[in-house]
């Protein structure tokens, strides 16, 4: 439309060398901040996002406390240096909407009714952004919640699919999101087959919309496996080292 960038070439290869249904390389680390009750970090393509959880703890301000369950407060925020053109530090309307949408994606996974009159405070900081940050934010936040020992029904994995250069693709990067025809972010709880976050902007036929959702769910399943591995990684390493050559008790 505006630029003449080739988003997908004739061989079906995208601007960053990926195939249509390929996720960006993902790296996940859990328990990296010492003060937070739970924390995690994700690199997905050029995205760099940190999530931290404090709680359950006393509710501030008091009047928000619910008598029969905990509340989840979520702040999605982008660092001023995270994007091409410096973003002013005050929360933008987009950040307010994403904070809400991310919170609504994670709430169904948490056993909130076990901790009445408390608050679980979740902070998601985007240190570097390259498209799909709300998905990566949900993915890393799930790990931070699990790391904090908060009881959950399931991990929530998220990613986006969309239409770029007339093809349906998985995990859009920033250029693809800006120049493509449609973006469909999805968050998914595998064991309940439950979609917890769903948005779309762009233009798609119903058929394309359905295929995009299927593609995104496929991506979520792959990410879910990575989340599990990341949670266990630290403990498995310690276990292997400690039990080397020692017989079972």
């Amino acid at each position: 439309m505006s630029q003449k960038i080739v988003l997908v070439n004739e061989e079906g290869i995208r601007t960053d060398g990926r195939k249509l249904n390929e996720l960006r390389p993902i790296k996940l680390e859990v328990g990296i901040l010492s003060n937070a009750d739970g924390s995690a970090y994700i690199e997905q393509g050029k995205n760099r996002i940190l999530a931290a959880v404090y709680g359950p703890r006393e509710v501030h301000p008091r009047h928000l406390a619910l008598p029969d369950r905990a509340i989840l407060q979520c702040r999605y925020h982008m660092a001023p240096f995270s994007v091409e053109e410096r973003k002013p530090p005050q929360p933008s309307r987009r950040e307010v909407e994403l904070s809400k949408v991310i919170r609504e994606a994670l709430e169904p996974a948490i056993f909130l009714d076990k901790f009445p009159r408390t608050s679980i405070d979740l902070f998601i900081e985007v240190l570097q952004a390259d498209g799909g940050t709300r998905g990566a934010g949900v993915t890393v936040a799930s790990l931070a919640l699990a790391d904090a020992g908060i009881p959950m029904r399931d991990l929530v994995a998220a990613c986006a699919a969309g239409k770029v250069g007339a093809h349906l693709v998985l995990d859009l990067n920033d250029i693809e999101d800006k120049e493509g025809e449609a973006d469909v972010p999805v968050a998914y709880m595998l064991n309940s087959n439950a979609v917890a976050l769903l948005q779309m902007d762009g233009l798609l036929t119903i058929e394309e919309f359905k295929r995009a959702i299927d593609l995104a769910l496929d991506g979520c399943k792959q990410i879910y496996a990575l989340q599990k591995e990341a949670l266990k990684a630290k403990y498995i390493a310690i276990k292997e080292e400690a039990e080397e050559g020692v017989e079972e008790e």
């Binding site: 006393e58 008598p67 056993f111 699990a146 020992g149 009881p151 266990k232 310690i238 400690a242 008790e249």
Partner: protein, 230 residues
């Protein structure tokens, strides 16, 4: 009765642990005759009971628990106590003194002031009220000496050990007095700083490796090595 994991395997929230005629134990939940893990930890199958020994939890008070807390506020009739829990605990003056008292603020802060540590017991807690404490039993009260260390409350059972085996070994080998709070706080009082340091190292090792086997032996070995006994 299909079990989907082996005993002591690490499981994550949402993992399907068992199906059919089973009971959902700690850190699991049941949905449609299926039992799933709700926390990261080691799965344990005990007959029909399926539970998870969590690797990290926060402390939810239970009546009868011994806890270590810190005074955060002096109030009209008692104190607010931080017991490392989502809920702030209350210690009424009547649960701290053996004699009746007059509600004068100065008096209370002379008994226990902000920042003081106490060894207390949980006397009440439910979904509608904050936990209540008492220090009126023998051995309870203000903590005046020792080193304090915090671990995830999930590790406390491992630090105590089966029938107290781990904690007895630690006390014996380090010659320290070790008081364990169910809320993850521990006080170490030794005859010298060096003994206390070794006890601290041992506790940190247990916290790190709580999910492994052969731990008691390895910790004993480490302590002895540190003391130069080996």
């Amino acid at each position: 009765m299909p079990f989907f994991y082996e005993n002591r395997q690490i499981v994550t929230p949402g993992d399907l642990l068992a199906e059919g005629d089973c009971l959902a134990g700690h850190n699991t939940y049941k949905s449609d005759a299926k039992i799933y893990a709700s926390r990261l930890g080691l799965v344990q199958y005990k007959g029909r009971l399926v539970q998870v020994v969590a690797l990290n939890t926060f402390y939810v008070p239970s009546v009868g628990d011994q806890v270590i807390g810190k005074i955060t506020e002096v109030n009209l009739h008692g104190w607010s106590v931080d017991i490392n829990s989502p809920y702030i605990a209350n210690l009424k003056a009547s649960e701290a003194l053996s004699r009746p008292f007059k509600p004068q603020r100065d008096e209370l802060s002379e008994i226990l002031d902000v920042g003081d540590l106490i060894l207390a017991k949980v006397t009440a807690f439910d979904r509608t009220r904050d936990p209540s404490l008492t220090i009126r039993e023998p051995d309870l009260g203000k903590i005046t000496q020792g080193q304090i260390v915090g671990v995830s409350p999930a590790k406390i059972p491992r630090i105590i050990g089966r029938k107290g085996s781990m904690i007895s070994m630690l006390k014996k080998e380090t010659r320290c007095n070790i008081t364990v709070g169910q809320n993850g706080l521990i006080i170490i009082t030794g005859r010298n700083r060096e003994d206390e340091r070794i006890a601290l190292l041992a506790i940190q090792k247990i916290e790190q490796e709580a999910h492994t086997s052969g731990l008691t032996d390895r910790v004993t070995e480490m302590v002895r090595k540190e003391r130069g006994d080996v």
